[in-house]
């Protein structure tokens, strides 16, 4: 295993790999947070994970068929994302990296907007304030951690928490194991601790930064490194959606209550390639993949729901059909996406009038018009 030194720490686990509800000792303090989940919510977790996996596969196919410049698969990381995404409250702000498609969906982003970005139609895609405060994807590794920390500093500067968890805000920032080596991520943790920000750092340790194993990023468990910055830090089984939910709910509520920033290391695995430009067979073995496929988060949770008799065949068939509908819908909408106009190049380079983009836009419009037909 490429990640041998990483196995020294205990992960919070609620559901065994076979799907049994068997919280380990580390899970104990987080168990009360599961009381917030009614049966509908428990089923929704499954629905969100299964639907996003189908969406992910479909867009991967679309990329292979030349419809997207690039796709970033989320396959394997659904439990980490769905559990934590549902743990955030409506007033919270989320700063993603670029693989958090499940969280985007939970926060109300239209998934076609992610497709638009990776098809080359936009560098943004949605208005965060109108989509669950889910901020834009950030492709420079780790840069968003500082934005999240600054935003959380702003929450603190706006006033002390009221003590009402329905109103007090918190921030969650997602990043991967590679990002933990970036200066910005480390600065963000220093600043967060220094200003006691209402914030949770959510690390999806998927074991690989493109082709580089996490053992190259750290020789100590990353959950321990966060403690050195003064953050409350918990490692979870990232393929256990209930562990992800409960630990994130507690961490976010602690943060919003003014108890300072927290850190979660979700141990998960990138089953697919880093992106559609990657070829993982060049750097990792089939055994490792098999090991993690046997710990698939969706299969595990399906067994769990079945064992608790929370879902029947009709439910799973319904989810299947919703997933197929979303996939078909995504394909249809992707093929119908047009091309943006010249405006997109120039209109928002600055918020206020600026002569250079204004004059260059006019020049390009006239130049294009010179060809006698709209292009």
């Amino acid at each position: 295993m490429a990640d041998a030194p990483q196995h020294d720490a205990v992960s919070v686990q609620m559901i065994s790999p076979e799907g049994r509800f068997e919280p380990n000792a580390a899970a104990e303090e987080f168990l009360p947070y599961l009381d917030r989940l009614d049966e509908d919510r428990l089923r929704t977790f499954y629905r969100d994970m299964a639907v996003i996996r189908r969406f992910d596969a479909e867009v991967g196919h679309l990329q292979r068929q030349g419809q997207l410049a690039l796709w970033v698969p989320s396959h394997g990381q659904e439990a980490a994302q769905v559990g934590s995404g549902h743990a955030a409250r409506p007033q919270d702000s989320i700063f993603p990296a670029y693989r958090e498609h499940a969280v985007a969906k939970i926060r109300g982003v239209d998934l076609i907007d992610i497709v638009r970005m990776l098809r080359g139609l936009t560098h943004g895609g949605w208005v965060p304030a109108e989509h669950g405060n889910f901020h834009l994807y950030t492709l420079v590794i780790g840069s968003q951690t500082l934005h999240a920390t600054g935003y959380a500093m702003g929450i603190a500067l706006d006033g002390a928490p009221t003590g009402d968890p329905e109103k007090d805000e918190a921030v969650m920032v997602y990043f991967g194991d590679g990002a933990t080596s970036q200066g910005d991520t480390n600065e963000a943790m220093i600043w967060a601790a220094s200003y006691a920000t209402p914030q949770v750092f959510f690390l999806q340790n998927n074991h690989w930064a493109i082709s580089v194993p996490v053992s190259r990023q750290s020789r100590t468990p990353l959950v321990d490194r966060a403690r050195g910055f003064g953050l409350r830090s918990t490692r979870i089984d990232g393929n256990d959606v209930l562990a992800s939910y409960a630990v994130t709910a507690k961490q976010l509520d602690d943060a919003r209550a003014g108890r300072g920033p927290g850190f979660i290391e979700a141990m998960t695995y990138r089953i697919g390639a880093h992106t559609t430009s990657d070829d993982p067979t060049r750097y990792r073995g089939a055994d490792e993949l098999k090991f993690w496929e046997a710990r698939d988060p969706i299969t595990r949770y399906r067994h769990h729901l079945e064992q608790r008799e929370l879902a029947d065949a009709a439910f799973f068939a319904d989810v299947e059909s919703e997933a197929a509908d979303l996939a078909a819908d995504t394909r249809r909408r992707t093929l119908a996406l047009g091309t943006p106009g010249i405006d997109l190049i120039f209109d928002n380079v600055y918020a206020e009038d600026h002569p250079v983009p204004r004059e260059q836009k006019k020049w390009l419009q006239d130049y294009e018009a010179g060809f006698g037909e709209a292009r």
């Binding site: 936009t122 560098h123 943004g124 208005v127 965060p128 304030a129 901020h135 834009l136 950030t138 420079v140 840069s143 951690t145 500082l146 934005h147 999240a148 920390t149 600054g150 935003y151 959380a152 500093m153 702003g154 929450i155 500067l157 706006d158 200066g183 910005d184 600065e187 963000a188 220093i190 600043w191 220094s194 997109l344 209109d347 928002n348 380079v349 600055y350 918020a351 206020e352 600026h354 002569p355 250079v356 983009p357």
Partner: protein, 324 residues
């Protein structure tokens, strides 16, 4: 009218901006009780408190990256980078993040952040403390970039920069922090992005920004004694450049010398020279000449007088333009 140093004028300008808008906050290293290494923020921490004057951890990327998040929250952060040569750790956050975020949000968010950068030589300081890195930022779409040369401009331009809804790189010529000048607290001198003719003349136009303006005025004075009439233009705004007054001046004099402390290769001076050649070709009696710092790392301080353009180097270029 009152007489202040530029450091004092900036201090009063920051204070006025903070009084006018309680979302204006200051961030930087040592800007609290110490007042910043140049004392530009002196007294502001005591007046406005540590929630509005943030002595930050030591990390330039952290300062700018956190400012971006604060701007998303509705704040108007004014960041101080302690010295020109220390700005590079923040380069990604300034050029890849801040400069692009307005465009990436397609109109749904604004990033009113000012980044103050004390810059330039003439102070005999150690390595990384005397540089002029403005070209990197003038080259980056999404940023505005200005540099005052007088206390009055400093007082007004810092307030105008803070009021802008765009990111503004605010380059402060540190060798001009201490000379005193008249400040009119009553009325703003000019809009932020305007060049200004600071001395009228008919034979040659000299243009520069920041500390270079005083060198150009010295050169003009010497030349006047020798019978040459020089017009001096203070650029004030490097992005965008207000070419109107400059073109008008060149159409009158037919000769232009661009001066700057920064290395000349791929510099702001190169851009101005190219643009004037394109737009005033028939008015020119001589090629546009550049007087710059050399294309070598800023030297140890005992050699800075050889490296930095002075009045004599400017006058040498004036002679070459006149004798072309």
């Amino acid at each position: 009218m009152t007489t202040w140093t530029m450091a004092k004028a900036l201090n009063r300008g920051l204070e006025a901006a903070m009084v006018a808008d309680d979302k204006v906050i200051l961030m930087g290293e040592d800007i609290g009780p110490l007042g910043g290494v140049f004392r530009v923020t002196e007294g502001l921490s005591a007046r406005f408190g540590t929630d509005r004057v943030l002595d930050t951890p030591l990390g330039e990327s952290g300062i700018v990256g956190a400012a971006i998040g604060l701007a998303m929250r509705g704040y108007r952060p004014v960041c101080e980078i302690q010295f020109d040569g220390f700005i590079y750790p923040a380069f990604d956050q300034i050029t890849s993040q801040l400069a692009k975020l307005t465009a990436r949000h397609e109109g749904s968010a604004r990033f009113p952040i000012v980044i103050r950068v004390p810059y330039g030589g003439h102070i005999g300081a150690v390595e990384h403390h005397q540089e002029s890195p403005e070209a990197y930022f003038a080259h980056t779409p999404g940023l505005r970039l200005v540099s005052p040369s007088t206390p009055n401009d400093a007082y007004w331009m810092i307030q105008q920069a803070i009021a802008s809804d765009d990111p503004v790189m605010f380059f402060e010529p540190k060798s001009r922090y201490w000379p005193k000048g008249e400040v009119d607290e009553g009325e703003s001198a000019a809009p932020l992005h305007t060049t200004r003719v600071v001395r009228g003349g008919t034979d040659v136009t000299l243009v520069g920004h920041g500390a270079m303006v005083s060198v150009l005025l010295q050169a003009a004075e010497v030349a006047a004694g020798e019978g040459t009439s020089i017009e001096v233009v203070d650029l004030r705004s490097l992005s965008p450049v207000d070419y109107g007054p400059l073109l008008k001046s060149v159409e009158k004099t037919g000769r232009l010398v661009v001066a700057q402390e920064a290395p000349g290769f791929a510099s702001v001076g190169s851009e101005i020279a190219a643009t004037i050649a394109e737009r005033a070709f028939y008015a020119l009696e001589a090629p546009v000449l550049r007087v710059s710092g050399f294309d070598a790392p800023f030297p140890p301080a005992k050699l800075e007088s050889l490296y930095l353009p002075d009045a004599d180097r400017v006058l040498d270029a004036v002679d070459r333009a006149l004798n072309y």
